[in-house]
């Protein structure tokens, strides 16, 4: 194995969010990121998993969400797999924060936080397995 990795599978229920974000924060520190950056990674992972539970699975709690953490010399990668409704990158529209300030409303901020707090955010569908992936990458400087 040329880099360390491990997996966690949780039910698609928000009660496990705190477990996942705590893990992401600790993994970030282990990867060599500072505490402030680790907090941002944990928020990005919270938003990604929340999107899967509430949107991809539409709040149904009997599915599973698989997280894979990969520690490389260059980055911490968090891969989130699910079998729900996928997001197509070419349809992604990030909200404009200045518009939010002018017209406050609920929702839509999770993707923006993910993109601001991570170095890379990717979405893709795996046609072979029929699953969808959200990949979050934080580079280690």
């Amino acid at each position: 194995m040329d880099h360390a990795q491990f997996r966690l599978i949780i039910p698609s229920q928000t009660r496990y969010l705190n477990l996942v974000t705590g893990l992401a924060k600790r993994a970030s520190v282990v990867a060599g990121l500072d505490d402030a950056t680790a907090a941002k990674v944990s928020i990005a992972v919270d938003e990604a998993v929340t999107n899967v539970i509430l949107h991809a699975y539409q709040g149904e709690g009997h599915h599973s969400v698989e997280l894979e953490l990969r520690f490389t010399p260059q980055a911490l990668e968090v891969h989130i797999w699910h079998s729900g409704q996928g997001i197509r990158e070419d349809q992604l529209v990030l909200p404009d924060p200045s518009e939010y300030i002018k017209h406050p409303r609920k929702g839509g901020l999770g993707l923006l936080l993910m993109s601001r707090f991570m170095d890379e955010v990717r979405f893709r569908a795996d046609e072979d397995s029929g699953r969808n992936e959200c990949c979050l990458i934080k580079k280690i400087s």
Binding site: I43, Y100, F117
Partner: protein, 117 residues
Amino acid sequence: MADLSIAVRQAGGVAVVLPAGFINAHTVRDFEATLEGLVQGGQYRILINCRDLSYISSAGLGAIMGLIETVREHGGDILLSNLQDNVFAIFDTLGFTQLYRVFPDESQALASPEAGG
């Protein structure tokens, strides 16, 4: 310990909300219900003291944003104080420090014109 507990106390004409723990998609309903209950009861000056708030996701931001127009239409405001660094980073990254008044501590928030001080 629960992921989130919320205390509310009155300071003059201001309702001081003290969330302790984590506000995420799992706990946000309690936070939202607390704020909505205050607004429905005619309380439009609200200070959220974040001293014991370890974490807030976009779900929590949405709960605050969903009420800001209503309270301001009634001459009130939602103020924030005692933000921990990671909580401040979320508000600041999204530019929301322009939308909400953020104070270093509760006493300064309560003394501000927005709080009627």
